[in-house]
Each structure stands twice: as structure tokens, then as C-alpha cells.
């Protein structure tokens, strides 16, 4: 009984080891072939996404999946879509957004113009949320929002700025919790079953492809929002992303992270000051 269990465990482990090798090869292949570098992504979410993607394609082994993905660019696009780093929503962390509204916006007012970077914006909901917030605070017209993601497909979705109406309606509560001053519905128009965010919001956003894994700093920002991106990264990659963001912040600029994220792997964490207890909003205090 015990022996057979042990054997099963060994087999299981060997299978896992093998799969790990396969995954490594796959990621290396993807990097060489397409330039997307997932090698430093945290393994377990990656593995979950991969399992889902493989089931979707109907392949049994990672190697078989690799064969398909390297020869079929469409498959690669589907991989990017299903590997599932694109889960987002509006005002996902209402506390954070409230803090941005109360602590960051007043300081943004003291600058002649300001720049905000949403790094890893996925399908863009949080970008529009931020634009709504800034619009209500009256600073949108002197703020440029840069929204970047490494996936062209999700960027395309984000650029359009139309979302299923029933989903957008569900954000109303979070919007209110974040200190929203009116109705979220004031900021979009309805066409059939979709909600499209107002032209004014669109005008302030620049969409671009950018990877925190491989690319560099492209401007300095007053606020960087990078929520639920770092959780997919391993420590070394988090460190790189943190350094990139730190380098892209002005003195006294703000960094907003997702709920489950921290400055743990940030080499410059001593230069950040938490703005409010329990909220992942930090200010770069290097003066």
C-alpha cells in the first residue's frame, strides 16, 4: 500500500519534472520566436493558464503545444489571451482609488501638467476608471494617461473602450466606494448592450505596446498604476519591473500597486513611503 503510493508519487514527480522542462523550453521558444519573455513569470499561475490554453487547443503535452504555438502565430495570440493575465475590472481596489482621489489628485493640481502611466492595462477597464476619477477631480485636461500592455489583442479591446453593459453596471458600487461623485453611467453612452466610455476620456489616453519584462523607461510620471501584474512575476523580474517604475517616477511621484502586491522585491523600497495604512499607494520620497 505504502509502496505503491510512493511509486505513484515518484511517477507524479517525474511527470512534473518533465513538464517543467517542457515549460522552460516552451517559454524559451516563445521568447526567441515572438519576443515575449515569460521566463521569469511565477510558475504556478503560468501553469494554470497553460493548462487552460492547452485544453482549449486540445493538445495533450506541452511539447505538442509548443509545436503548434511556434508554427502558428494565431495560436500564440490565443495563448496570450487565455494565459489569463488579462483579468481586470474597474475600481477593483476602491480603497486604493479613494486614496488616489484624496492624496494624489491634490498634489497633481500643484503641477502645471502631469503624466500617469497604467502599466499592464490589459483590456483597459482600470484605465478608464482612472480617467473617470481624474475627470471628476477636474485634472483630466492637464493629465496625459499612458496605458501600456504587452499584448496587442487586449490593447485593441482597450482602445475601443466598449464593454458589456451589464458588466459595467456592476462597477457602479465600487465606483461609489472609491469616492465617485456622481454616477459611473454619466461617463459612458449605451449602444445596445455595450457601454462606451465618453470621447473626452478617450482623448486623454495614449495606448501603446510596452513590456515590463524587456522594455525600458519612456517618460517620467507623477503616478504609476501597476495593479495585479507583478503577482505573475518571479522575484528577479519583480525587481526589474520595480526598478523600471522607480526610474520612471518623478521625485515625489506615486506608485499604486494591486492588493496582493508589495514593495518586497523593490530594491528602492526605502525611498518609498506608504501614503495610507492598508493601501498599496506609495510615494517616492527621494528628494
Amino acid at each position: 500500500m505504502r509502496r505503491s503510493e510512493g511509486a505513484a508519487l515518484r511517477i507524479e514527480r517525474a511527470r512534473t519534472d518533465l513538464e517543467e522542462i517542457e515549460i522552460q523550453l516552451l517559454l524559451e521558444g516563445i521568447r526567441l520566436c515572438y519576443g515575449y519573455d515569460f521566463r521569469e513569470y511565477a510558475l504556478s499561475p503560468l501553469r494554470r493558464g497553460l493548462t487552460a490554453a492547452m485544453a482549449h487547443e486540445g493538445v495533450q503535452t506541452v511539447s505538442a503545444y509548443q509545436d503548434r504555438i511556434l508554427h502558428d502565430a494565431a495560436c500564440m495570440q490565443r495563448f496570450l489571451g487565455t494565459v489569463g493575465f488579462n483579468v481586470t475590472g474597474m475600481f477593483r481596489d476602491p480603497e486604493l482609488m479613494r486614496c488616489v482621489r484624496e492624496e494624489v489628485v491634490p498634489l497633481l493640481r500643484t503641477y502645471p501638467s502631469s503624466r500617469v502611466w497604467v502599466a499592464g492595462c490589459a483590456t483597459g477597464e482600470e484605465v478608464y476608471a482612472l480617467a473617470v476619477l481624474l475627470d471628476e477631480a477636474g485634472v483630466l485636461n492637464k493629465t496625459s494617461i499612458y496605458a501600456t500592455d504587452m499584448n496587442d489583442d487586449t490593447l485593441t479591446v482597450a482602445r475601443v473602450g466598449s464593454y458589456p453593459l451589464d458588466r459595467v453596471r456592476r462597477y457602479e458600487d465600487a465606483y461609489a466606494a472609491s469616492g465617485g461623485q456622481a454616477n459611473l453611467a454619466d461617463h459612458y453612452s449605451i449602444a445596445g448592450r455595450t457601454a462606451r466610455f465618453n470621447r473626452k476620456l478617450h482623448g486623454s489616453i495614449t495606448w501603446a505596446r510596452h513590456s515590463l519584462v524587456t522594455d525600458g523607461s519612456f517618460n517620467d510620471f507623477h503616478l504609476i498604476l501597476c495593479a495585479n501584474v507583478l503577482i505573475y512575476f518571479r522575484a528577479s523580474l519583480q525587481e526589474r519591473a520595480h526598478r523600471l517604475m522607480y526610474d520612471s517616477l518623478i521625485r515625489g511621484g506615486f506608485l499604486a500597486l494591486g492588493k496582493r502586491e508589495s514593495l518586497l522585491h523593490c530594491p528602492d523600497r526605502d525611498h518609498y513611503e506608504q501614503v495610507r495604512d492598508g493601501v498599496n499607494l506609495f510615494r517616492k520620497m527621494r528628494w
Binding site: 515572438y34 519576443g35 515575449y36 491634490p106 498634489l107 493640481r109 500643484t110 503641477y111 502645471p112 501638467s113 492637464k142 496625459s144 499612458y146 504587452m150 495614449t206 501603446a208 505596446r209 510596452h210 513590456s211 524587456t214 522594455d215 525600458g216 523607461s217 519612456f218 517618460n219 517620467d220 526610474d247 518623478i250 521625485r251 515625489g252 527621494r286 528628494w287
Partner: protein, 1241 residues
């Protein structure tokens, strides 16, 4: 000899004769004897003598001549070979015979020689027939001459024989072809033998060569081409050999080719083969050509035949053989042609039949092939039979089809057929069957739809349900052949449950047991309404219902009960009865009709309800109108109130303005006060310092005096000196206090922050105050409560100064009881407005508790003021300057905390010092203007020991000395800040804001003052408002930038103006930072100023250090080139501009693609453009593409700046028109070398 004798005799004679000089004669004779013929006898005196002399001379002369002749002759014969006779002229006698003998000898000697010469010369000329004669002029040769002659003759003979032999051999071999001949020369030896052997060898060689050639040639002649000349030859013969061998090779090749062609064409049937013999000419070439011609002719003919046959096989019977052939092949061609003709006729006939029967449908056609026989005949018969069978079958099918077309669907095909035709027959029959069924269905549907439409139209516009039900029944019953019908409508009036009531009937007779109404579920009608399903009854019992007519009555066999539904609700039920069963069509019809009726009934219902509602709404509208009028009135009242409010507001605004102006006045006063206070502090600081210096000398001297080292002072004088010293010490203490306080007030105290261990607290206090307590007999307790941190970040000296002061006060004002010191953590108790303490995460409290005289409440505030004690009279009793608590308060404030006092007169006092557990802001730079401390240093040098103030309250002097002695720390450090701001409140505000950071702030109200002030002294930072009276902030900036000295002062713009993007960029070049006035600006302003003051050392690396890797500018190859930088990243614009300008390049920068294009439109002198990829609105790709479209820019280099490293991003740059790309953050050296490669050619 004879001559001598004669001469001797002559001489003797002469001597014999007298008169002859015998001496002379003797001398001459002796000369002649010696052979000297040159001496002559002189003519003597006498005649005889003269005669003797003459004769003697004549003899001597004859001898001389003979001798000369013989010498000439011998030379002529012997040396020159000229055989001539010797002649001596007139000689005679012996002389003559001597000469003759000589001549004879010469003759004899030359004769044989001449003979030998003749023979030899004949041999030389090839004449071997001459021989030497063995006698000359009849005299046989003798001796040596004979031997020579014989030898010559033998030689000539042998030569003759040799020549004969060689001639023979040569003739035999060469001319007559008799090979193998050999010369036989006998008796020859030496060279002749060798010669003969050579001739024989030559003959042998020639023979073997010629024979070899002959052998090969013969073999060739006999067809054997395998032979080759193998003999070893040289020279011309070698050429011959090679020629022959080549010929044999070519022959061989030719033979092979011809053989191959013959085999291919003839045997293997591979047509088209051609002989290909390389390098042949002449006849061989002709021969080859002939073979080829033959082969190609044959090929053509055979192919022609093949083509025709193939055409026939493929069904083309028009092909004819048109060969130019002769003989047998021509016959073959004819045969084939006639066969083709026959086939063509046959094919045409069969085709005709097939076309007639198959394609044109002319049945009955028969093929007629004249002259066909055998297989052709059979074939034709078969075709005819096929045609006949097909005709029969098709005609049968056609008949039936025609019938179907005319609508007769009863026919079916009955002809006998097999296979596919049988299938066809079956299919057609089935099709006809299907057609029949479908047609019937269509008819039914037509009926159904027509009637439905009729009903719908009929029911349109009806309002009354009773009329409708009657109409329905009277139309419906006959249509479905029902003889009896009732119509129940659903009613729910007046509180009764919904039920069905009879509304109309068809041929209906009311009977007792048939109710007028049904509730749901009651009877079939009720059940039908409940289930909402049609019910059909067959074989109804006889007594169920009867259909009446005037003539009789009968029982119907079938009943159908129909529910009329609308949206699932039952509206009515129809029951119909018939003698005959209801057909499926009728049932269908009824179902569909029920739906229509439902709709109609509902519409009628809805209409009536709408009418009701309309009536209602009309009455409501009236009511609304009246309410509206009421509202209007209320509104008017409200408007009146609003006007009142507005007036009140205006009043309030007026008040507010008044308050504001008085507030400004107050603030101005306060500012003036503060200024005065600061002047006071500065004055005091200076003053007390000036006082201290002479006082110190005084004290030293007084001490010297009191010590009385010389012992010459009276005790009284010593006492005086002691009094001078103690009074002086008091004075010094006072001055030190003043100095301390003024320094604190003027903000020139430097803190030396460190982590101070609280464990030092107890020993320190014990050391200082235990003996005081003992002396005053007071209890002294030190209580360090739990929860304290191990260390606190503070300036220990200052803290100790505060605590010492408080404790010494406590001891001073307590006569009995105790003094207690408590240190603990505090969570409150300080003034609520103290932000420093509020914000601190932890606060520590130091309490000094005494049981002394206490302080009355009204004095509790003023004791902290300078020179104040609770009671003016106490000063005399307790002493002290009244500055201690002021200093304590200021120092505590400096350390970020505060002092609180609780006290009750007669009970005691508690002084509490609250300190935050965070380090106070630590200034760093030494103050440039503060010269006090250096003098303090001087002072300590003058008086190293004596001035130490011992005991009690105030240790500031000691502390100060200690820190100045350390030197490096320096004492007070301060920064200077110039605020250019026209609003005095704002100015003061900034000054206050920066005060805790030990910054000296000077405020000016306009630009002129600012520039004047800046020229006067150096500032660490300038805060500039843009909206100034007179010279605007912009102008100030321009002025500053044109001055090297002033331009380096860091500038901070503080403005309420909203800046455009252009203005921001323009300002950004001059100012370190821009702060817009808003609620949170003070905080930011303070941070920005602090950042500037604390210098570039701590400034962020964000901007990079662009200079480091630039090339040396002097030799820049890029000098004078003009670059355009397009980037929304201002950091980058600045960094690039600075770097490129160091290369002496001209740089223009814009922050959007649109601006770049506009600029390029106007400027054609841009040499290179650096374009950022990620920009708002028009991104870099579009910008570059559009730049390339501009004629004015053309193909000048564009370098894309991209932060992206992903594959494809870079290619995208190039596609968009970039010449090159470089990654952000830009590596300067890399960019420079890239620029050089594009710009320097």
C-alpha cells in the same frame, strides 16, 4: 773550300808581288776566311796593288752574291713551296755547275709530290678511278717515293670498294624495296667498319618500321581496326605513326556510331537516332551525313505511319498518310489510308444514328454502312438494335411524362426495362406518386389559408364580442361541415370566479340539462378551458346531443371542443358537432383559427380597456393643471426668497472683504513684529557676544587676584576680588542665557542628532542632582517606566540641557517634599495643534514633578516668556535670569516637541517635555554669514578653563563649546532663500514654512528688487512668482539666464497661473521645479525647496549624468549640424539637448509629432531628426511616415528613440521610415557614433 783556297792563293800572290800592303791583305783574307764578305781591299798606291785589290774585291763580291742566291732559293723552295730555278746571273765556271746541281735536285724532289697531289685531289672530287703512276718520265720511282705511291693506290682501291657496297645497299633498300639488304665490305677496319655498321643499322631500322606500318595498314584494309602502330620511332616517322593511329581511331569511332545508329533505328526501333562522329572530315563526314539522312528519312516515314495509326486509334479518322515514300513503304501507306477511310465511313454512320437517337431525339434511326463486313457488320447491327430498344423505352416514358404535364397523375410507366432505365422508370413512377401527394397537401393548405384569411378579414374592426361569436359560428360551421355549434366566452364579472358563458349557437336548441355557463373543469367545455387543449370525440353516444331540422333530428357522430387562447389565457371555447368525422385539415384549420380568434377577442378587450383609461386620464389631467398652478405660485415665492438670500450674500461678502483686509493688516503687523523680534534676537546675539569677551578677561584677572599668588593682598581685597568674580560669573551666565536664547530665536542653532541610549539618563541625572537633593534634604526619585525604547533619535546635549534646566528649577523652587523625574511613553497630553507630535508614530514624555511653590494659573503662560518669573519678587529670593524656561521651550520646539505645564500654587508643578520618536530635520550646511561662532572659538582659546559655569541650570555654554571644539560639525548652518512674491502674506508664509529647516528667507515684492538682491548676495534658492507687478516673472527669468553669475542660482517657480504646455517646457528649461498654487502646494513647495537646498548630491539620477560619456567637444565632427528632437519626455529632451549642444550641434526640440511636422515645413536646414516612438496623439511611427512624405525633409536621417526591445517593434520603426533606432534610456556614446555615421560622410 775551293773558294777559300782561291782567295788564299790570290792573297799569296799579292803578297808576292811587291807593293802590296800585305798587312791589309792578310786582315782581309782572315775576314774572308771567317766568312765575312764585307771587307774590301783599298786601292793601293801602285797599279799592281791596285789590280790585286780589284781582283780580290771581285772574288769577295762573287762569294757574297752566291751566298745570297743560295739563301733566297732555299727560302723560296723550302718555306714558300715555289719550285723555281735558282739563277745567279752571270756566273760561270764552278759557280754555274754548282747552281745547276742545285736546280736538278729541286726538280727531282718536286716530281712525285705533284703526282700524289693529283691523285688525292681526284679522290677528293669523287673520282676513284685515278692511281699514281709508278714511274715518272720513264724513271721508276724508288725508295721512299715508291712506298708512298703504293700506299696511295691501295687507299683509293678500298674507297672504291666501300662506295660500291653502300651504293648497292641503298639502291636495294631504298629504290627497289628489297628490305633486309646488308652492305658487305671486306677487309675494312676502323672508321670504315663503323660506317658500314651504321649503314646496316639504318637499313635494319627502316625495314622494321616500314614493315610495322605495312602490317597495320593491311589490318585496317581487312577491317581489323584494333591494330595500332607500336614500333618505336622518332621524327617524321613518328608523325606518320601518329597520323596513322589517329586515322585508325577515327575509323573506329565512325564504325561504332554507324553501328549504333543502325542498331537503334533498325533493331531497337528508337527513331530519330543520329550518328555523331567527332572530328571527321572529307569522305568520312559525307559518309556520316549519309547515314544520318538515311536514319532520319526512315524515322520520318515510320513516325508518319505511327501518327496516322495513333490518330485512328484516338478516333480521328481524317488523318491521311502523306509520306514521301517509295516502294514497300508507299504500299503500306496506301493500305493504311484505305483502312482509315472505311473506319471513317463506319464511324460517321454510327455517329449519325447515335446523334439522331440520342441527341436529336429522332427515334427509329438505323445505321447503314455499305461494304462493311465481319466485325464491322456485327457492330453495325448492334448499334441498330440498341437504337430500337432505346426508342421503345423513351417513347413509353415520354407518354407518361406528357400525361403528368397535363395534370394526369394517375399514369405510370409500364415498359420492360432493365438496369438504369429500370431505375429511371421506378424513380419517375415514384416521383409521380410524390407529386400527387404534394398536390393534394397544397390544395388543403390553400383551402386552409384562404379561409383563415377570410375569417381574419371578416373579424377585423369588430367591437362587440357577441357579434363576433355569432359571425364566427355562422361562417365556421358550414365550412367544416359541422351541423351544430356553440360558442362560450370567458367572463369574470362582478366578483364571480372566471367562468364560461354561452355567447352564440349554431343550430342550437337550448335544453334543460345543458347549462348556459361552465366553470373551469366543468364538463368538456370547462375541461377544455382548464387544459387549454383541443378535445375531439368520436362515436358519440346516441342520446348525447341531437341535431334538429324542421324535418327531423339525428345524432352527430363527432364532436370537437376548441379552446381560444391568447398568450396562454383562455378567452373562449367553441364546440362543434358533425355527422362526419373531422378531417385532419379541418382540425388544423380550427386550431389556427382559434389563435386568430384569440387575437381578435384580445384586441376587442384591449380597446375597451383603453377607452376606459382615456376617460380616467382626462380627468387626471385636469387635476394636474390645478396643481401646476399652485406650484407656480410657490416658485414665485421661492424666487423672492432667493433674491433676499443673494442680497444677504453680498452683504456677507462685503463683511468678508473687510475682515480680510483687517486680517491682512494684522498679518502685516505680525510680520513686522516677527521681523523686529528677529532683529532683536540678532542684536542680542551679537551684543552678548561682544559683552562676553571683555567679561572673560575680567573673570580671569579676578580669579588671579583672589588667588593672591604674591600674598600681597589684604583679606578685604581678596574678598573684593572674589565678589568681582562671582558677580562676573552671574553676569556671564546671564549673557550666555541671552546668547542661547537669541541664537535659538534667530534660528542659528545646529542640532547634532544621534541615537541616544535612555540608559544614560539615570546615571546622568544621579550624578548631577543627587548631591543637590542631599544638600537641600529633598527626596529625589528617577522613574523610567516600562515601554520606553532603548534609544531615542535626538540631540542629547540639547535634551540634557532642557532636563537639567527643569530639574534645577524644581530643586530651586522646592523647599520640602520631593522632586521626581519620570520618563514614559505618551499617547496624548500635548497641544492638539502640534502636527509634529500628532504625526509621530510614538511620543516619549519626560516629566519633572515637584512639591514646590507652584505657579498660579494666570502666570503659567508667561513664565515661558523671556525674563519672566512667576513673581517679580521671587527673583530676589531665588535668583536666576528668567531665561531658562524660554530656552527650554525653544530647544524643545527645535527638537520637534513641546513643553506642557500643570501647576497649583502651594502644591507643586509638573513640567512635561514631549518629544516625537523621529529625528528632527537636520540642517547640514554651515552658515556663511554667521561669524559668531568663530569668535566663540577665539574665546575658548583665551580662557581654556576658568569660564566653565558649574552647577545647576544651564549647561548651554559647555555644550556649545563641546560642539565647536569638534570643529568639523560646525555650529549653526543655514541656507538663504530669496522669495520673489508680491503678496506679503504669501511671502511670510513661505518664510514660516521654511523656518524649521534653518533657512534664512528674504522676501522681495518685485522683479527689480529681486535682481538687485541677487546681485548683492548669493542665495541657495530663488522662489519666483510669475505674476509680479512691473517686471514679470518671465522677464526676471530671462534676465537671470543672460547673467552667468545669477543663472546658476536654482530657481523654483511658484505661480497660480495655469500654464500651457509650451510655457511649461519653456519654464522647465530655466526652473528646477514648478509648483502651482493649490491646497497642497505648501507641502510640495517645502519638499521642492528642501530638495534644492540639500543640493544636487541627493538629486535623483532620473535625469542621468549626461556629460560623462560625451566626446570632447573641441574636435566634434558634428559641430554646426542641426538636430530636431521630437519627444514628449521632457527629461529626454533636456538630456539630449545638453549632450548634443556640447557637441556644438544646434538643437531644436518639440514635444509632439504635429509640431515637428509644422517645424519641418518651415525649416529645411534640419540635418537629422530624433523621434520618440511613444507620444500622445500622433505617435512616432505616424510622425516618421509623415516626415518622409515631406519634400522639405526628404531622405535625411531619422533616428527613432524607443523604450521597447521587443521583436517587431524595431522593424516597425524602420518600416515607418526611420534610418536607425536607439534604445531608451539613450546611451550617449552610442548615439554620438550613430549620428556620426549618418552625418559625417
Amino acid at each position: 773550300m775551293a773558294t777559300k783556297t782561291a782567295v788564299k792563293r790570290t792573297a799569296q800572290r799579292v803578297n808576292g808581288t811587291g807593293g802590296i800592303d800585305s798587312t791589309t791583305m792578310l786582315r782581309i783574307l782572315a775576314a774572308v776566311q771567317r766568312g765575312d764578305f764585307s771587307a774590301r781591299m783599298p786601292a793601293g798606291s801602285s797599279s799592281s796593288a791596285r789590280k790585286v785589290a780589284a781582283a780580290l774585291n771581285a772574288v769577295i763580291e762573287s762569294n757574297e752574291r752566291l751566298e745570297r742566291e743560295i739563301r733566297r732559293f732555299s727560302r723560296s723552295i723550302g718555306k714558300e713551296g715555289q719550285v723555281k730555278h735558282a739563277a745567279i746571273g752571270h756566273a760561270g765556271g764552278t759557280w754555274a755547275s754548282t747552281l745547276d746541281a742545285v736546280n736538278d735536285l729541286v726538280e727531282d724532289l718536286s716530281q712525285p709530290n705533284t703526282e700524289i697531289a693529283r691523285v688525292i685531289s681526284a679522290v677528293a672530287n669523287g673520282d676513284l678511278s685515278q692511281t699514281m703512276a709508278l714511274e715518272i718520265e720513264g724513271r721508276p720511282l724508288q725508295g721512299q717515293f715508291l712506298t708512298t705511291a703504293k700506299t696511295v693506290n691501295t687507299m683509293v682501291g678500298q674507297l672504291n670498294a666501300f662506295a660500291g657496297e653502300v651504293t648497292r645497299v641503298a639502291r636495294e633498300v631504298g629504290t627497289e624495296g628489297k628490305l633486309g639488304g646488308q652492305a658487305q665490305v671486306r677487309g675494312v677496319a676502323g672508321i670504315w667498319k663503323d660506317l658500314t655498321d651504321n649503314v646496316n643499322l639504318m637499313a635494319g631500322n627502316l625495314t622494321s618500321q616500314v614493315r610495322n606500318i605495312a602490317e597495320v595498314t593491311t589490318a585496317v584494309q581487312q577491317g581489323d581496326l584494333s591494330k595500332k602502330i607500336t614500333v618505336d620511332v622518332r621524327g617524321e616517322i613518328l608523325e606518320l605513326k601518329q597520323t596513322i593511329n589517329t586515322m585508325v581511331d577515327q575509323l573506329n569511332a565512325f564504325a561504332k556510331e554507324v553501328t549504333r545508329v543502325a542498331r537503334e533505328v533498325g533493331t531497337d526501333g528508337k527513331l530519330g537516332g543520329q550518328a555523331n562522329v567527332e572530328g571527321v572530315a572529307g569522305t568520312w563526314k559525307d559518309l556520316t551525313d549519309n547515314v544520318n539522312i538515311m536514319a532520319s528519312n526512315l524515322t520520318d516515314q515510320v513516325r508518319g505511319i505511327a501518327r496516322v495509326v495513333t490518330a485512328v486509334a484516338n478516333g480521328n479518322l481524317k488523318g491521311k498518310l502523306t509520306l514521301e515514300a517509295k516502294g514497300e513503304i508507299a504500299e503500306l501507306a496506301d493500305t493504311i489510308n484505305s483502312m482509315t477511310d472505311t473506319l471513317a465511313v463506319f464511324a460517321q454512320q454510327v455517329t449519325t444514328v447515335a446523334r439522331e437517337v440520342g441527341a436529336e431525339g429522332r427515334l427509329g434511326g438505323q445505321a447503314n454502312v455499305p461494304g462493311a463486313a465481319g466485325t464491322w457488320r456485327d457492330l453495325t447491327d448492334n448499334v441498330n438494335q440498341l437504337s430500337a430498344t432505346l426508342t421503345t423505352q423513351v417513347r413509353a416514358i415520354a407518354e407518361v411524362a406528357t400525361a403528368v404535364t397535363k395534370g394526369d397523375l394517375t399514369q405510370s410507366i409500364r415498359v420492360d426495362a432493365k438496369g438504369e432505365v429500370a431505375n429511371l422508370k421506378d424513380n419517375i413512377n415514384e416521383m409521380i406518386g410524390n407529386l400527387r401527394v404534394t398536390t393534394e397537401k397544397n390544395t388543403e393548405q390553400d383551402w386552409l389559408k384562404t379561409n383563415l384569411t377570410r375569417f381574419t378579414r371578416m373579424l377585423q374592426g369588430q367591437r362587440d364580442p357577441m357579434t363576433v361569436s355569432k359571425m364566427i359560428l355562422s361562417e365556421l360551421a358550414p365550412l367544416v361541415h359541422a351541423e351544430h355549434g356553440v360558442f362560450y366566452g370567458m367572463v369574470d364579472t362582478n366578483g364571480r370566479a372566471a367562468h364560461l358563458a354561452l355567447q352564440a349557437g349554431y343550430a342550437y336548441k337550448q335544453r334543460k340539462n345543458v347549462p348556459m355557463e361552465f366553470v373551469l373543469g366543468e364538463g368538456l367545455v370547462g375541461q377544455c378551458a382548464l387544459e387549454k387543449k383541443r378535445i375531439v370525440l368520436k362515436n358519440v353516444p346516441k342520446d348525447y346531443i341531437k341535431i334538429n331540422s324542421a324535418l327531423g333530428e339525428s345524432v352527430p357522430a363527432n364532436i370537437v371542443v376548441l379552446p381560444v387562447l391568447f398568450e396562454g389565457e383562455v378567452r373562449a371555447v367553441i364546440e362543434l358537432a358533425s355527422f362526419e368525422p373531422f378531417s385532419a385539415t379541418h382540425i388544423d384549420f380550427l386550431d389556427q383559427l382559434a389563435e386568430s380568434i384569440g387575437i381578435v377577442l384580445n384586441t376587442i378587450d384591449a380597446n375597451s380597456r383603453t377607452e376606459d383609461l382615456l376617460t380616467q386620464s382626462q380627468s387626471l389631467a385636469t387635476e394636474l393643471q390645478s396643481q401646476q398652478d399652485q406650484l407656480q405660485r410657490t416658485n414665485d415665492e421661492l424666487a423672492g426668497k432667493a433674491r433676499q438670500l443673494a442680497e444677504q450674500n453680498a452683504e456677507i461678502e462685503q463683511r468678508r472683504l473687510e475682515v480680510e483686509s483687517s486680517k491682512a493688516l494684522v498679518e502685516e503687523k505680525a510680520e513686522q513684529l516677527a521681523l523686529t523680534s528677529r532683529y532683536k534676537s540678532e542684536f542680542l546675539a551679537n551684543m552678548s557676544h561682544e559683552l562676553r569677551t571683555p567679561l572673560n578677561s575680567l573673570l580671569i584677572l579676578a580669579q588671579e587676584l583672589a588667588a593672591n599668588p604674591d600674598g600681597n593682598l589684604l583679606p578685604k581685597q581678596i574678598e573684593y576680588a572674589t565678589i568681582i568674580r562671582s558677580s562676573g560669573t552671574d553676569l556671564l551666565k546671564l549673557i550666555n542665557d541671552i546668547l542661547d536664547l537669541s541664537k535659538i530665536e534667530s534660528g542659528t542653532v545646529a542640532l547634532d542628532i544621534g541615537n541616544w541610549p535612555l540608559t544614560e539618563l539615570r546615571p546622568m541625572l544621579e550624578r548631577t542632582f543627587r548631591h543637590v537633593a542631599e544638600a537641600t534634604k529633598l527626596a529625589f526619585q528617577i522613574d523610567l517606566r516600562p515601554g520606553l525604547p532603548e534609544t531615542i533619535p535626538t540631540d542629547p546635549q540639547r535634551l540634557q540641557q532642557i532636563l537639567n534646566n527643569l530639574l534645577s528649577n524644581a530643586f530651586k523652587f522646592t523647599e520640602k517634599g520631593k522632586v521626581e523625574f519620570i520618563a514614559e511613553m505618551a499617547i496624548g497630553g500635548w497641544s492638539p495643534t502640534n502636527e509634529n507630535l500628532n504625526r509621530a508614530s510614538k511620543v516619549v514624555a519626560f516629566r519633572v514633578v515637584d512639591t514646590g511653590i507652584g505657579i498660579p494659573y494666570e502666570k503659567q503662560q508667561s513664565i515661558f516668556e523671556s525674563f519672566a518669573q512667576a513673581d517679580g519678587s521671587t527673583s530676589r529670593k531665588y535668583g536666576g535670569t528668567g531665561l531658562g524656561l524660554s530656552i527650554c521651550r525653544e530647544l524643545t520646539r527645535l527638537l520637534g516637541g513641546e513643553i506642557r505645564l500643570q501647576s497649583e500654587p502651594g502644591v507643586g508643578s509638573i513640567f512635561t517635555v514631549y518629544l516625537p520618536l523621529i529625528a528632527p530635520i537636520q540642517p547640514r550646511r554651515p552658515a556663511p554669514l554667521d561669524t559668531l561662532e568663530s569668535r566663540a572659538g577665539d574665546l575658548s582659546e583665551i580662557s581654556p578653563e576658568p569660564v566653565l559655569v558649574t552647577g545647576g541650570g544651564d549647561r548651554s555654554w559647555q555644550a556649545e563649546r563641546a560642539s565647536s571644539a569638534h570643529g568639523t560639525k560646525g555650529v549653526e548652518a543655514t541656507w538663504s532663500l530669496l522669495v520673489v512674491e508680491d503678496d506679503p502674506v504669501q511671502r511670510q508664509y513661505i518664510s514660516d514654512l521654511m523656518a524649521p529647516t534653518n533657512t534664512r528667507t528674504i522676501g522681495v515684492a518685485n522683479g527689480d528688487e529681486a535682481l538687485a538682491m541677487l546681485r548683492e548676495q548669493k542665495f541657495d534658492c530663488v522662489v519666483l512668482d510669475l505674476g509680479l507687478p512691473g517686471m514679470s516673472g518671465w522677464r526676471v527669468i530671462e534676465e537671470l539666464q543672460t547673467s552667468d553669475a545669477l543663472g546658476s542660482t536654482p530657481l523654483l517657480v511658484y505661480t497660480a497661473k495655469d500654464l500651457t504646455r509650451k510655457e511649461e517646457i519653456k519654464l522647465g528649461k530655466a526652473a528646477k521645479s514648478i509648483v502651482i498654487k493649490d491646497a497642497r502646494s505648501p507641502e510640495r513647495l517645502k519638499q521642492e525647496i528642501s530638495a534644492i537646498l540639500q543640493g544636487p548630491g541627493t538629486e535623483d539620477e532620473a535625469g542621468g549624468e549626461p556629460g560623462a560619456n560625451g566626446a570632447d567637444p573641441a574636435s566634434s565632427a558634428l559641430a554646426g549640424k542641426k538636430a530636431l528632437v521630437v519627444d514628449d519626455d521632457i527629461r529626454n529632451i533636456f538630456a539630449l539637448t545638453a549632450m548634443l549642444e556640447r557637441q556644438q550641434m544646434e538643437v531644436v526640440s518639440v514635444d509632439s509629432g504635429q509640431e515637428a511636422l509644422e517645424l519641418l515645413h518651415l525649416n529645411e536646414d534640419i540635418d537629422v531628426a530624433l523621434v520618440d516612438v511613444m507620444m500622445p496623439e500622433m505617435d512616432g511611427y505616424v510622425t516618421m511616415t509623415k516626415m518622409r512624405e515631406l519634400k522639405s525633409f526628404g531622405d535625411r536621417p531619422i533616428i527613432a528613440l524607443t523604450a521597447k526591445a521587443m521583436k517587431g517593434d524595431r522593424e516597425k520603426c524602420i518600416e515607418a521610415g526611420a534610418s536607425d533606432y536607439i534604445a531608451k534610456p539613450v546611451n550617449n556614446a552610442h548615439l554620438l557614433s550613430m549620428l556620426k555615421s549618418w552625418l559625417v560622410r
